[in-house]
């Protein structure tokens, strides 16, 4: 299978780039946090295409391009960066990059470039990858999340006078290790703050994690009409409020469709109220896989980037599937 490696030091950016990849493109996506990790992945054959950021710790984009040339690695490189000075463009071209896309990347821009270099249709292989989740069930979850999101977006838009860019929900069964990676990523990242909240319905239990990039705070304060300076204390409170609204609206949309009621626990700021390492080590044995629904919100006209991840236990899926049986009937 054609493999794409996304290399960026920011979690938000990595996810954003990955989400811009064409939905119907059958590829394996891999991630790297810096040039060094990217080189290791490339040597393992995990990147027929490399989407590369320039400013990164340890080994930056320029260094990575040099190393790729030096090692003669066979990969196509497209640079995605916020640094759009002409000099940067010339430098990366000279170092062998095919093209340069300015951040934030949009699906249209990415497709254009991929088409331009005929990457979309290169090495077309039939998919042999087995999805762990029944596609019908995945569709069904995706659909109910879409509807819930639509309602949530409508609420938010009307109350706060903002336009919510509705993401396509990403539904997956993820392993413990993947969640660990995600959580430790949040911890190692100073630019994001995460809130986690448990929720519970009859036969359904799970947790919602809301990740907000720190650059969003000022705009969140504006939207919530908070006046005065946003200090650390207020920042946290804002995060909790924003998270409660996002989690609450999304959960109630899901609850209506499944005809259940969710009760919510008190939200917890990850890393502050509870060390992430503690969560990771404590949960080691309790579960193996979890159903994850990932949503990436954006607000038009505001610099607000927010990821919402709903995690359901594997047992919950039985209840949920039976609640959603009427939607699955036709299959």
């Amino acid at each position: 299978m054609f493999s794409v490696l996304v290399c960026d030091d920011s979690l938000v950016a990595r996810k954003q780039v990955a989400k811009c990849l064409p939905q119907d493109w059958d590829i394996a996506v891999h991630f790297a946090k810096n040039g060094e990790e990217a080189l290791v992945a490339l040597k393992e054959g995990k990147g027929n295409l490399l989407l590369l950021d320039l400013n990164m710790p340890i080994l930056d984009g320029y260094g990575t391009l040099e190393a790729i040339q030096a090692a003669g690695l066979n990969t196509k490189v497209i640079v995605i960066s916020g640094d759009i000075q002409p000099e940067a463009y010339d430098r990366v071209k000279a170092l062998g990059a095919l093209d340069f896309i300015r951040k934030p990347v949009s699906p249209q821009m990415l497709v254009e470039v991929l088409e331009k270099f005929d990457i979309l249709h290169s090495e077309p292989e039939l998919s042999t990858d087995v999805t762990p989740l029944d596609p019908n069930i995945r569709d069904c979850y995706q659909e109910i999340t879409n509807i819930a999101m639509g309602q949530a977006g409508d609420h938010l838009a009307r109350i706060m006078n903002v336009f919510v860019r509705l993401p396509i929900p990403n539904v997956n069964l993820i392993e413990v290790s993947e969640l660990h990676m995600m959580l430790s990523d949040i911890e190692s990242h100073e630019q994001v703050t995460a809130v986690c909240q448990g929720f519970l319905g009859p036969g359904i239990s799970g947790e919602a994690i809301c990740i907000l990039s720190d650059s969003s705070f000022e705009d969140v304060a504006k939207i919530l009409n908070v006046e005065g300076e946003v200090d650390d204390q207020l920042q946290l409170e804002l995060l909790m409020d924003a998270a409660s609204i996002l989690i609450g609206t999304c959960l109630s949309g899901l609850a209506v469709q499944m005809d259940v009621n969710f009760s919510q626990g008190h939200p917890i700021v990850l890393g502050q109220h509870r060390a992430i390492t503690e969560i990771i080590s404590m949960n080691k044995i309790k579960w193996k896989r979890t159903l994850a629904i990932e949503l990436s919100y954006g607000l038009e006209g505001y610099n607000v980037q927010c990821d919402l991840i709903l995690l359901f236990t594997e047992e919950s899926m039985k209840t949920m599937n039976s609640k959603l049986a009427h939607l699955l009937e036709d299959f």
């Binding site: 609420h155 409170e237 909790m240 409660s244 609450g248 609206t249 008190h266 939200p267």
Partner: protein
């Protein structure tokens, strides 16, 4: 008739339960006037339900900032979502004395508070409920744990230096 009587009896014990449950329950209308004030609130605040009924929350407790609280509860009324306040960020909203005035180490009660919408038969939210949980024991436990962690780190450092 006996069905009616049963209903009334049931209503009576339900109310009794709300009254005696060890969690603070307050119901507010859109003007933030108190509609329900259960036994927990009565005992801890010393204010009788008859004293607070239809009174504005902000008049009763001037320490609660009106703008802030309205901001906090706006999504509860408008979006029907819950809002939360945790003791880690705001140790208390109502300054109540510690439940254990003699053996307790803190002078006041740490509180977790949840605001939830009360949805009427017509689907509107005219009232919100406020639940006040006593988190003092958790807070004390966490403070002690943190103190011990600091002590351990210090002891380790001393050990390293003395070597």
């Amino acid at each position: 008739m006996s069905q009616h009587l049963d209903d009334i009896l049931e209503f009576h014990w339900m109310m009794d339960m709300l009254q005696t449950v060890d969690v603070g329950i307050v119901v507010l209308n859109r003007q933030y006037q108190v509609q329900v004030w259960n036994g927990f609130m009565e005992s801890h605040s010393g204010k009788l339900p008859s004293d607070v009924r239809d009174q504005s929350l902000f008049d009763l407790f001037p320490t609660i900032k009106e703008d802030w609280f309205k901001q906090k509860s706006k999504p509860v009324f408008e979006l029907k979502t819950r809002a939360f306040m945790t003791w880690e960020q705001r140790p208390y909203l109502f300054k109540f004395p510690n439940y254990r005035p003699i053996t307790g180490s803190e002078s006041f009660m740490y509180q977790n508070i949840t605001l939830s919408p009360l949805i009427s038969a017509t689907g509107n939210v005219e009232y919100i409920s406020m639940m006040i949980y006593d988190m003092t024991d958790v807070a004390v436990g966490k403070k002690q744990l943190e103190a011990i962690q600091v002590q351990i780190t210090e002891a380790k450092e001393r050990q390293q230096f003395s070597r």
